[in-house]
Amino acid sequence: MLRLPKFELCTPTTLAHAVALLAESPDALIVAGGTDLVPNMKHELFTPSRVVSLAQVSELRGIRRGADGSLAIGAMTSLAEVAASALVRAQAPALAQACSLVAGPQLRTMGTLGGNVLLDTRCQWYNQTYFWRQALGFCMKKDGEVCHVVKGGKNCVAAASNDSAPALMTLGATLEFASLRGRRAIAIDDFWVADGICNKRVERDEVLVSVHVPKAPEGHRGAYGKLRDRGSIDFPLLGVAVRLDLDAQGAVEHADVVVTALAAQPKRIAKLDAVLHGQRPGSSDFEVAVAEAAALAHRQCKPLPNIPGDAEYRRDMVPVYVKRTLLAAARGEGPVHHV
């Protein structure tokens, strides 16, 4: 039995009230679906005096299509709703697929897109009970100074484990935050930092309001691939988001692959566009280019033993999943999932 530490729970019904409640208390935390924060609080990784629940703030829910064809997804929209949305599936297939593979059915009903974007990083030496962590000796991410993953390491290497993040990066999404200081928007590519302790550029008192996904071109294809031990519940051992934009002749105009769960921030595979540009899916040249892209990804990814699952195995799976996910995207299929 795991008890939560004591806190005061606030349940505002408007965004303005939520923002004010957060600003009032120097250690207040936001809870959206609670599927990440609640177990973390049970493990005493966070012990806030005040928790502000956004469950009753209805203005943060829903998926809207703007006049320019872009999508605005409220941060409190559940992962199940995003995965099932006809709009998202049509315009941002990689995002719908990524959300459909987060955890299991109950957790997708509870968990929100905003919560998944802001998910805490994970590490096998961190996501443990206080008793467990104390017995081993605390790590630098919480209560200690050393790193158990990299002996003598100076930087935390806990893994970004949010499936939605790489998909949103391939889609060029923007995040909109609100605080007492007003609103600000940040491109999701600029949102991450290579620090496992906190891998995001966000202040404690800011509320993620919505995620904006620009309109994709006519020939847009996307897919998401996920490696995990079980076919449900688990966090990713590797996540691969793919974007392929095809021109009027059906050749690749733009290609993008972002992988996650390997390091503290999602990683874009460099020089991949040059490999796939101009190739026509279905042709033998395309298959060769996909194999080359997979090899490129393998060279650029060097996972650490930060989350469960052998690091070498996870590295070997990078080209396998990049290849399968690229081929699935080209066929307009996906997600790629082994079970």
Partner: protein, 180 residues
């Protein structure tokens, strides 16, 4: 300490519990509704599954007071709801689980039945694949999944007046018959 009301199984309950209590703790230790099980208590196992507005969620990760104004259904509420709707006996899924021996230790059972109930509400004739998907957040450590799927199929067959599929042990026996 918070004073609030929760709507559980169609009844309104006055609750007095600390803010940091989960819905599972309120159900079990304030209201005596111990049908929802406390398994891993951190969102892995699904033993605490309840329905909130008809959707399966994990009570161990739900802050009780944040569920104010939502319709909560626990395993205790299925039979009364079935009787109110004019049925007899327990909920057809509960009867099917009994008929098919879909449990060994029974610890996962209430979560399994509630996940299955939510599935049948949105999909009256699910495939095995639909069932696997809907129950993929509920772990049975006795590994009795086959009988659980057969129980759901049995409940569907009964409701839709279909010929039920042979259960796995019946199919095995049928295959052995000629050699006897």
């Amino acid at each position: 300490m918070g004073e609030y009301q929760l709507e559980i199984n169609g009844d309104s309950h006055d609750v007095s519990a600390p803010d940091h209590w989960t819905l599972l703790e309120v159900l079990r230790y304030r209201l005596g509704l111990t049908g929802s099980k406390q398994g891993c208590d951190k969102g892995d196992c699904g033993a605490c599954t309840v329905l909130v507005d008809g959707q399966p969620v994990l009570a161990c990760l739900t802050l009780a007071r944040a569920s104010e104004g939502r319709a909560i259904t626990t395993i205790e509420g299925l039979m009364p709801a079935h009787l109110r709707a004019g049925g007899t006996g327990a909920d057809p899924l509960q009867q099917a689980f009994d008929r098919c021996g879909a449990l060994q230790c029974g610890f996962c059972q209430s979560g399994m039945i509630l996940s299955a109930r939510a599935l049948l509400e949105r999909c009256p004739r699910p495939s095995r694949e639909d069932m696997r998907d809907a129950l993929s957040g509920n772990l049975c450590r006795c590994t009795g999944y086959t009988q659980i799927f057969e129980a759901i199929e049995s409940a569907v067959a009964e409701k839709l007046h279909l010929q039920p599929n042979l259960r796995s042990w019946e199919a095995q026996r049928a295959a052995q018959e000629p050699s006897r």
